[in-house]
Subunit: 346 residues, 2 copies
């Protein structure tokens, strides 16, 4: 990947490395993007940039914009959200300073960088880029269903926000450790920042959803694996369109079902009960066979963060025996996760 | 519906009645939108407007823009397409003249009216509207899956472009003849022009696809029916996201499967075989139950335009016996279609 945005090819490519902007944040939960970048793209982060009053830190070195640029940073990433997804007025002088120091700006918030006049003016004057990773590339083609070369793994889920990105990243890292030629393919904003590219699948016009997924994992060498970050759930009453377009266009050979034991209701719905993992396996096989008749389930990734170590291990062993496939928590890792990786590669 | 566009409410509402613009078209196949409006919205069409050289006619009275306005027309509809979906330079003077005569402009082409400087300038100067029916309304909410009151029927299909709009219109007309309180709900550009409103579901951002479908058929009286125009097919490798979002958000009580006997391959795909009608019934039940557990199949609408009368009748009778549900061709109508309507209302 080169250090520029290439919107012609249809997939966003971000300038790297980054400096992580934390604003004046005092709530760690608002800095999830910065923490995700520190955890999964540390080699692409030269440091952090905080404003007076900030108490949250990634633990990376605190730098000014000019210092970050001198260390090789090419972009400042807004690594913090706040209620409403806006960019507060008291951050803006620092963001203009970053543009003046030679950095592009990258954000994934609801408010667009280019809609803030002082940033738009400064970027135009300085020839810098304002990159909103939620904005999909133009000229996405309609899908064709043509079979592409190479291998693909897609993470799917019983709901939103329960570990599909984390699981894909952990699998990509495990594949890499085993010397397997692979790429993490990002389909959401934090994933795109980590990968340095991708397509925000939830922001694509529905007629082009499968076409965008086809672009996201192009033809590759026969032994190459794309590990694709899933979105939503096939049974989510709001987001199933995103999930199905991504499934059809990804043509996965293998999928891993992500699940949070104990969650009973779909996020943001009028009381919809969570679908069982078995139902998600069946639906994914049924619908996924349309574009890849050889699709199979590699196993399950459980988010057991609410459980203690012993309870989590016992639950996963029991569920693995019941389901006949590996169950592991990618955050806990360990031998169970190696078994899941073995199953995906089998 | 009032005679203005209301974009706040989330569903486009068009100014009516129309005058149908045919340009200088000599190819009847390019005037499908105009013919559809003549056939299904004759009471909303005051006449047609042709340029010198045109040989295609809808049979409606030829009028100038000023004459059309004097007869009550509120908008000129571009009822003709050409290769590439552009608005040729030699049409533009007439379109400006229509704006000057007091008409808004409505189009459903790929090229947007507002992107043509001379139209944008004239509309701005005259306070007229340029309405692209392919542009979905802003501020579409995310779906919730909340159960809405009233009854709903959705037309689904084994592929694109085989009669889902026509079937929905024919069913809506049949419901009306029986005195049933109902509305045709349009999800594509020609349907929107016929209905005078609706949402171009294929142009909605995928995260909001089900939410848009929820908007399209709002709460209604318990005995009221919405007859919703379907899109794509659940097994189409490019468009299934549109179909699933529309299915989930529509929460249909009844669906009718549209099919063209003899078609063997999905449109625009890399050789994908057409799905059988039984598979579409099963998939629609399986996925549709998520938002309406009482969903059922009302029967089948076959497009038998390639067959003679006797062969079509024989085929539909045989398929009806095999499938255990009514099969009818809404274009041919007749007793078989009445049986299909009975089944939908049962």
């Amino acid at each position: 990947m080169n250090a520029m945005t290439d919107r012609i090819a249809g997939v966003l490519v971000l300038p790297q490395p980054y400096v992580l902007f934390l604003g004046d944040t005092t709530v760690p939960g608002f800095a999830k993007t910065a923490f995700g970048l520190r955890d999964w793209a540390a080699d692409k982060c030269v440091g952090e940039l905080r404003l007076p009053g900030a108490t949250v830190t990634t633990g990376l070195e605190a730098l000014t914009a000019a210092e970050a640029h001198a260390r090789g940073a090419r972009a400042l990433v807004i690594g913090v959200a706040n209620l409403g997804g806006v960019i507060p007025a008291n951050w803006r002088a620092s963001l203009v300073e970053a543009l003046e120091a030679g950095l592009d700006l990258i954000a994934g918030m609801h408010m667009r960088l280019a809609d803030i006049p002082e940033l738009a003016e400064a970027a135009h004057r300085l020839g810098r880029q304002l990159i909103d990773v939620r904005v999909p590339p133009p000229q996405i083609p309609v899908g064709t269903g043509r079979k592409r070369s190479g291998k693909r793994l897609l993470t799917v889920g019983t709901d939103c926000a329960l570990g599909k990105k984390y699981t894909a990243l952990a699998l990509a890292r495990a594949f890499e450790r085993r010397g397997i030629d692979s790429d993490f393919r990002a389909s959401g904003q934090t994933g795109i920042m980590i990968a340095g590219g991708g397509i925000a699948m939830d922001a694509v016009v529905s007629d082009f959803e499968a076409g965008a997924a086809e672009l996201l994992s192009p033809d590759a060498a026969p032994g190459h694996w794309d590990i694709i970050e899933g979105q939503g759930a096939l049974t989510h009453p709001a987001y199933a369109a995103v999930s199905l377009g991504l499934l059809h266009g990804s043509q996965p050979d293998v999928f891993v079902v992500c699940h949070e034991p104990g969650r009973t209701e779909m996020l943001g719905t009028a009381g919809y009960k969570l679908t069982s993992v078995e139902e998600i396996v069946e639906l994914t096989l049924l619908l996924g066979r349309r574009t890849n008749p050889a699709i199979r389930c590699g196993g399950f990734a459980f988010n057991t963060s609410a459980l203690g170590e012993a309870a989590a291990t016992e639950l996963m062993a029991r569920e693995s025996a019941r389901l006949g496939l590996p169950v592991a928590d990618p955050v806990r890792g360990g031998p169970a996760f190696d078994v899941l990786v073995d199953s995906c590669l089998a």
